[in-house]
């Protein structure tokens, strides 16, 4: 039996490979991205390790504020602390450190060095002790006067700078020039380029640019020889009981983790698409096995007739699945390794990939084999079981094709699954039940399987005939045959189309959500923002913003009626709702050990972003609907919010709401204005005077300045004047409302493109599936094709007919995907609208959906090219006399 199965398998190498390719693509993607995140997080770890190498203890404030994406900012410590640390017994050397993200490096070409999404640009002070200094001096010397700077060699190269050059730095307050005197790098001899871009100044300059005059970000110390990090930490903590002291090792780990968190999110995000790809591949494997089993019915029955037991027949099919699974896993691993290292190379511009490519981990190999073999075997079980139910008598009848009827029970099952899926989806989306995300996922799966595999066959045949109408118009028989062939085996057609349906469903949901979000942003801006122009920051990095002196200059520009600046900053709401949020979302336990003295002091609450505004002008420029309370009452110590937030959190005018800021501690602000409309930005508005006192350094900078001109006629003149004002500031642009809206939705476009790219994989796998099914169907129809050619069908007509057949299947799958996708998007939009009634508007991007359909159809045609060629090459006489 084993011998028969293996012989059979190798007799059909082509089928083996094409089937394996589908799974292999998914596995390649999964292992490739795993490898990539492994490479990135390893090199990040080693870079961070190098950066903080030589530091044995860090003395810092216990006041910390979360600023989003796993980043936190600590309150600075007084300058004098450095001297106190130096006095402690066991400290060999110590230094106060300035480490802020308050400046950008401007290249020789006038452009900001590095991308918004890449590693940050960090301002440091130059530390005399080489062991405590960040990085190693490669060339030149450290800055000795306030007009000098040292750069990491990577940034210098990117900016086009050499030692002796005048370097431009855009800080939050101004653009200034420094002389480049030294280059640093990481590693023992400074050969490695660092992940972050570092700008090193003398201490006073670093403090000024970092906006912490008279303060340090923290103080670092090196131990006397023979003293352990922990002993040093304890010694310092004993001498300075008020401060938090951590070991150098812990400090390094904390930094590694905050960066790896980002890499992990990236990895998870990408592997989701790997799993989608594998899910799609499952359909293909399932389908392939169904067809193979159907075609082998006679052979199987013959085996049974001559005495093979059911278990043996089952075993033979499963063995085939295992072999295909193994082949896929190996192929997938090979492709995955190539993909991972290729991606790592591509990423190496933003993340330094250190050292060589590490070998593929055992975990990755195991994952590949478990998924590759597991998925194939599971997909093959159904068809394999069916193959054992073939009664021996079938051997005597004609080659039977799977013609089992689309029965009533199928309809009942399909509808039941659909309803269950709908209910689950509703529950999940409205946040009912233990795990809404799992519910939505399971619901999506149920609905897809129901529509594609259970209900699909019911509509596949009529749909195929309808879709064939344009091809068959005017009595063109090739088109009619294409439709009939697509309709002749509805289960197969439905399962083949299903693979495409999944990809198209996801693409459709993304396209609709993106279009809806974009139109929501546009309409929110056009309905709420009454500014003529916006002076805006064009980079997204934390710490980038408009130098402080610009706002006043804008305000005094002739023709400007209002100039209203806004700032963004972090806040932790520690009211009842915030505390509840903290209870329901406990923070992941932080590192243990390596810490002495004061623990982190942030009270529990919900982290949000807030806006700093000028109450006198903000509500003039931004239409937030009717206001309860008056902006003129927004004195220091007060705040404004929107009706939705007030209702959600149970606030009323005059309430004193507790909020926590790392810099100033917990304090209560009085709610004095409630605006009717929510506009999707942060909905906590602090008067600028209060904002300035509570935000961490780096956030105290205008993010945008809304400008209203005296009259519409003045706008061009104002624009010219403002353009001139910001001409020297590479990150600042003067935008009209349309440009402003485009910038707001810009990141969305990028994300959507990336998602499309990833989903393309699912679609490519679906195409492999179409090609595979078509190939097998053609094999089954060899005789018929021979007959058609004998009675005068030209090769061209035959090829066209097969391409049309594939096109029909593809369009069927695409249309199903469109319908399900629109359904999902409606459900999602209902939930989003419930949360953001003022902002979200549903939008169907018709041209995009049409394009998706056309691409789906073309893709099907593309998939058919090879099978069609093979069919046309059949020798007529051989085909006709084939069994």
């Amino acid at each position: 039996m084993l011998r028969i199965a293996l012989k059979d398998l190798f007799a059909r190498k082509r089928r083996l490979v094409t089937t394996a390719v589908a799974i292999a693509l998914g596995i390649a993607f999964l292992t490739g991205t795993q490898l990539l995140s492994g490479i990135l997080s390893d090199s990040i770890k080693s870079l961070v390790g190098d950066t903080y190498d030589g530091i044995d203890a860090v003395v810092r404030s216990s006041k910390v504020q979360q600023v989003g994406f796993g980043n936190e900012i600590r309150t600075p410590v007084p300058e004098g602390l450095a001297a106190e640390v130096a006095q402690v017994e066991g400290v060999r050397a110590s230094s106060g450190i300035v480490e802020t993200i308050t400046a950008q490096l401007v290249g020789k070409d006038g452009k900001i060095v590095g991308s918004s999404f890449g590693p940050p640009t960090i301002v440091y002070n130059w530390v005399e002790d080489p062991q405590l200094r960040f990085g190693t001096l490669r060339d030149g010397r450290g800055p000795e006067t306030d007009s000098e700077i040292a750069l990491d060699f990577g940034s210098a190269k990117d900016g086009g700078y050499q030692i002796g050059d005048t370097v431009t730095v855009a800080s939050q307050t101004q653009t200034e020039q420094f002389t480049l005197v030294g280059l640093t790098g990481l590693g023992k001899d400074g050969k490695d380029s660092g992940g972050a871009k570092s700008l090193q100044f003398t201490t006073p300059v670093a403090q000024r640019i970092g906006q912490i005059p008279g303060e340090f970000s923290y103080v670092v110390a090196a131990a006397d020889p023979g003293l352990s990090q922990q002993d040093l930490t304890n010694a310092i903590s004993a001498a300075l009981p008020g401060e938090q002291v951590v070991t150098g090792e812990r400090f390094s780990t904390e930094n590694q983790e905050s960066i790896s968190q980002f890499v992990d999110i990236l990895g998870t995000f990408v592997s989701v698409f790997g799993y989608i790809a594998i899910f799609v591949a499952c359909f293909i494997i399932y389908n392939t096995f169904s067809i193979i089993v159907a075609q082998r019915t006679r052979e199987t029955a013959l085996l049974r007739a001559v005495g093979a037991r059911r278990r043996q027949v089952l075993g033979a099919t499963l063995l085939e699945a295992v072999v295909i699974g193994l082949v896929s896993s190996v192929l997938g691993l090979i492709f995955g390794a190539l993909l991972g290292t290729g991606l790592a190379k591509a990423f190496s511009s933003s993340f330094t990939v250190k050292g060589g490519i590490p070998p593929i981990g055992v975990g990755t190999v195991v994952l590949a084999f478990v998924i590759g073999v597991g998925v194939t075997v599971v997909s093959a079980v159904g068809p394999a079981l069916r193959s054992t139910r073939v009664p021996p008598i079938a051997a005597l009848s004609e080659v039977s094709v799977d013609r089992s009827d689309v029965s009533r029970s199928r309809l009942v099952w399909g509808v039941a699954m659909l309803v269950l899926g709908g209910v689950l989806m509703g529950l999940g989306l409205s946040d009912v039940g233990p795990n809404p995300l799992v519910e939505v996922g399971a619901a999506a799966l149920l609905i897809l399987v129901s529509v594609a595999l259970v209900l699909g066959p019911l509509i596949a045949a009529p749909m195929a005939r309808v879709l064939a109408v344009p091809f068959a118009a005017g009595g063109r028989i090739a088109g009619r045959l294409a439709g009939e062939n697509a309709a002749r085996n509805p289960k197969r057609t439905a399962a083949t189309a299903a693979a495409l349906t999944i990809g198209v469903t996801l693409v459709t949901v993304i396209a609709i959500l993106a279009a809806s979000l974009k139109s929501s942003i546009d309409s929110t801006i056009s309905s709420s923002l009454k500014a003529d122009l916006v002076v805006n920051t064009t980079t997204f990095s934390i710490g980038a913003g408009i130098p402080a002196n610009i706002a006043d200059q804008v305000a005094t520009t002739p023709g400007v009626k209002i100039a209203s600046p806004v700032r963004f900053g972090p806040v932790r709401l520690t009211d009842a709702a915030g505390k509840r949020h903290a209870r329901e979302n406990p923070e992941t336990p932080s590192l243990t050990g390596g810490l002495a003295g004061a623990a982190d002091t942030a009270p529990p609450g919900e982290d949000k972003f807030m806006l700093g505004i000028d109450p006198a002008t903000f509500f003039e420029v931004l239409n937030l609907g009717a206001l309860e309370g008056s902006p003129s009452e927004m004195a220091p110590g007060t705040f404004a919010t929107t009706k939705k937030t007030a209702d959600d959190r149970g606030w009323a005018l005059g309430d004193k709401v507790p909020m926590f800021f790392a810099r100033s501690g917990e304090q209560e602000l009085t709610l004095t204005v409630i605006a009717e409309r929510d506009i999707g930005q942060s909905s906590i508005y602090l008067p600028m005077a209060t904002f300035e006192q509570v935000v961490p350094p780096g956030f105290n900078i205008d993010n945008a300045i809304y400008v209203v001109a005296d009259s519409p006629a003045d706008v061009p003149q104002v624009q010219t004047a403002l353009d001139k004002l910001v001409a020297d500031l590479p990150t600042i642009k003067v935008q009209d409302l349309q440009e402003y809206a485009e910038q707001q939705s810009g990141p969305l476009n990028t994300i959507v493109l990336v998602i499309y790219g990833l989903l393309a994989l699912a679609i490519i796998i679906a195409l492999v599936g179409i090609a595979n099914t078509l190939g097998l169907s053609i094999l089954e129809r060899t005789k018929e094709l021979g007959l058609l050619r004998a009675v005068g069908m030209t090769k061209k007509q035959l090829r066209r007919s097969i391409r049309q057949e594939a096109g029909i299947v593809a369009v069927f799958g695409t249309l199903l995907g469109l319908v399900i996708g629109i359904g999902f998007s409606l459900a999602l939009s209902a939930v989003i609208t419930a949360d953001n009634p003022d902002i979200f508007s549903y939008r169907l991007p018709v041209p995009t959906l049409v394009a998706i359909t056309v691409i789906g159809a073309l893709a099907g045609v593309l998939a058919a090219i090879l099978p069609a060629r093979r069919a046309a090459k059949l020798d007529v006489l051989q085909a006709i006399s084939s069994v």
């Binding site: 009595g475 028989i477 002749r488 007959l787 004998a790 009675v791 030209t794 090769k795 006709i880």
Partner: protein, 248 residues
Amino acid sequence: MSTSEQTAFAAAGAVDAVKVYGEGDTEVRALDGVTATFERGKFTAIMGPSGSGKSTLMHCLAGLDRLSTGRVFVGDTYLDDLSEAQLTELRRDKIGFVFQAFNLIPTLSALENVTLPMDLAGRKPDQAWLDQVIDTVGLRPRLTHRPSELSGGQQQRVAVARALASQPDIVFADEPTGNLDSRSGGELLQFMRHAVSDLGQTIVMVTHDPTAAAYADRVVFLADGHIVSEMTEPTAARVLDLMKQLGD
């Protein structure tokens, strides 16, 4: 015969036709210098023992296969000069073919199967002629049925109708009754006889059944790739006699 001029022209023929399969030790000369013509408006039967080259000759005449050497023609066209695509068009427009079994496309109705070659050519069938052919083979009540809903005999009649429907120069039928019981077979032969006598068609049929051969106007005997004998106005008894003679 109605018009004696027509019979003067051959509908198809072979000149020194040689077909060799394989090489060296395994070489088989399926046709070994066959020269024959098939008269227009006549029903010719080809007989011979199994493996004598009957199918090969028919396939080469019908443009389904190519000769090793020699020439074959249909109407005024030499097939050996034609490209693959031209041969396909010739099969579609000038030649009808009936195989022993599996003649019909299962997804098309009987009528669609009949008109298939013309549909492939994008031509409208001549409705009057089509009606005549359909009535001759007695298919009218079965036109909308799929092949799976037809008996073997009915399926072969649809195949004959398809072969005749485009008014080809010649129809080739390779043991068309081979898979039928004697009654259905007899009916089918009757229809073919009608098509020749009453509709003026030309049919060449391979058979090894003397009774079937008796429906023909002429019988050609093949053995080992050669034409060994022929007979006009055959009867089953005479054919059987000749077969016995040849067998000795």
